[in-house]
């Protein structure tokens, strides 16, 4: 610890570890510019081109799969966020006997391997005679997103200052007014974070989808099917675009929350 190498070892190591995490992302991004022959696999570097970015829907089925994933993600997120927010409010605000049993019930889906969740739902749909398709994918996605929504929103409810709601009641606000004018706006950042997390989980899910998709192709299913013969560069374009979009979203939200903290610090 005394000599300077020890001081630099940890930062250097951390930088290397982060670079390690980023290698496959950089690879995917670089190969989205690969001028690979149409319909062929995207493994050999064949020169730089913007073609795949400009004509991303040229690869058969890739845009349809992307749109399917968006639709599934949005609907599953709406269901999971609505159900999960209500549950989080109940669990964080009320004490009742079944509370720990319900918390365990919510923890279990997160502790179940995806392959078991997927096979379980598929067995259920098989027994009940429900044909697999869009609806079964959405049901499955909302299920595994639900627990993550509850955990995220519950943390936000728990950090709320009860004095704010008390002030609302003291000023003769009705319970509905107190909820919509005070509680809900304060919870909103947590609810939005939960919805984004849930969309991200749904968008990237493969294993559970694979067991319940019927003939419907989501983006990960497309990549998996294509992997046997080579994934076209257009898939890299979509993945890279989604990555950049998500990254911008995170950076903007972090900068704005940093700015808000600075403003608050100035006030107090």
């Amino acid at each position: 610890m005394k000599f300077s190498l020890g001081k630099w070892l940890l930062p250097l190591y951390s930088a290397l570890a982060l670079i390690f995490l980023l290698v496959p992302i950089a690879y995917t991004f670089v190969f989205s510019f690969n001028n690979s022959p149409k319909g062929k696999s995207n493994v050999q570097w064949a020169g730089f081109t913007f073609d795949k970015w400009l004509n991303v829907c040229d690869a058969q089925g890739v845009c349809e799969a992307f749109v399917t994933s968006i639709v599934v993600g949005v609907i599953a997120t709406l269901i999971a966020t609505a159900l999960g927010t209500l549950m989080a409010l109940a669990l964080a605000r009320y004490r009742f006997r079944a509370r720990s049993a319900i918390s365990l019930l919510l923890f279990l889906p997160m502790a179940t391997p995806e392959v078991v969740l997927g096979a379980g739902l598929a067995a259920q749909f098989l027994t009940a005679g429900v044909p697999k398709g869009m609806v079964t994918i959405i049901i499955a996605h909302a299920l595994f997103c639900l627990s993550f929504v509850v955990v995220t929103v519950k943390a936000r409810v728990a950090s709320l200052d009860p004095a704010l709601e008390e002030a609302g009641r003291d000023l003769y606000g009705s319970p509905a007014q107190v909820f919509w004018k005070i509680t809900f706006p304060l919870l909103l950042p947590g609810i939005i974070a939960a919805a984004l997390l849930s969309f991200a989980l749904s968008f990237d899910d493969f294993i559970i989808t694979r067991f319940n998709n019927g003939g419907v192709t989501t983006f990960p299913i497309y990549v998996y099917t294509a992997a046997a013969r080579g994934v076209p560069a257009e898939a890299n374009v979509i993945a890279s675009a989604v990555f950049l979009f998500a990254l911008i979203l995170v950076v903007v939200s972090q900068l704005s929350s940093a700015a808000r903290r600075k403003r608050l610090a100035k006030l107090s």
């Binding site: 690879y27 269901i79 391997p113 909302a142």
Partner: protein, 304 residues
Amino acid sequence: MAFAAFGSSAAPVEQAPRRRSWVAVILLLPGLAYLALFFLTPFISLILTSLQTPVEFGDVGQFQQAFKIENYAQVVGEYWPHFLRAFGYALAATFFALVISYPLAYFIGVKARRWPLLQALMLTLVIAPFFISFLLRTLAWKSLMADETPLVQGLKALSIIPSDGHLTGTAFSVIFGLTYNFIPFMTLPLYTTLERLDTRYLEAGSDLYAAPATTFWKVTVPLSMPGIVSGTLLTFIPASGDYINASASFLGSAQTQMVGNVIETNFLGLLNYPAAAALSVILMAVILLIVGIYVRRSGTEDLL
């Protein structure tokens, strides 16, 4: 945005109990109904399916309800190596992910405290892999480890791997892929506990003439135990059920198949639903057993 999901150990602010508990029931009902219908009953379906027997003279994939407990003995007899591989690979990946993540999480959570912007940047980079397709990331490693790459050629020149050997399709590449894919799940919970670590305890350790290594093992590690436990669980559980890394079109081969692969093949390929269901039930039971023992032994029951 995923931080909150992993920081479940945050101490909740205790609030006075409210009386109108019927409101709580109304709030909980839709979600509980959903979980009952699509989480609990599927487990019952899974158990029932695992006991089914083929319809006599029926087609492939036609089964009738029975109490054929032999299904379990049969899948264990046939697929025990897949179970061993699944838990072995998952254990190895969990170990490597912990060793790789701990110093990184320590740097972000403790050393980088003075620079919040650096902290935020590093955390964003840790979760950055979540923003890009899991399958494409794994395929990227497959290409980087392909036989004609300079890396593999170099290893062959140094005789680290035999001249007819491969890097992909081996236990090494599968464990490598699992480790890589689950590092963020390990780093984030470690970060959330280390971020709250009171560094005065470390100073006290050195004031009492403890060597840095002693302070680390006797103070830092015990204080970060909740993060270690949730990180290892968040890695081990999904890794033991994963079958992407081990599948032949990704980083594995026929010799690296894990239990997830045979559940998939039996369910979706061979339409042998009872076998797939029996395998799933066993996998789930073993995981619950391991998690239960592990959580009890590490003394962090309140984590659940």
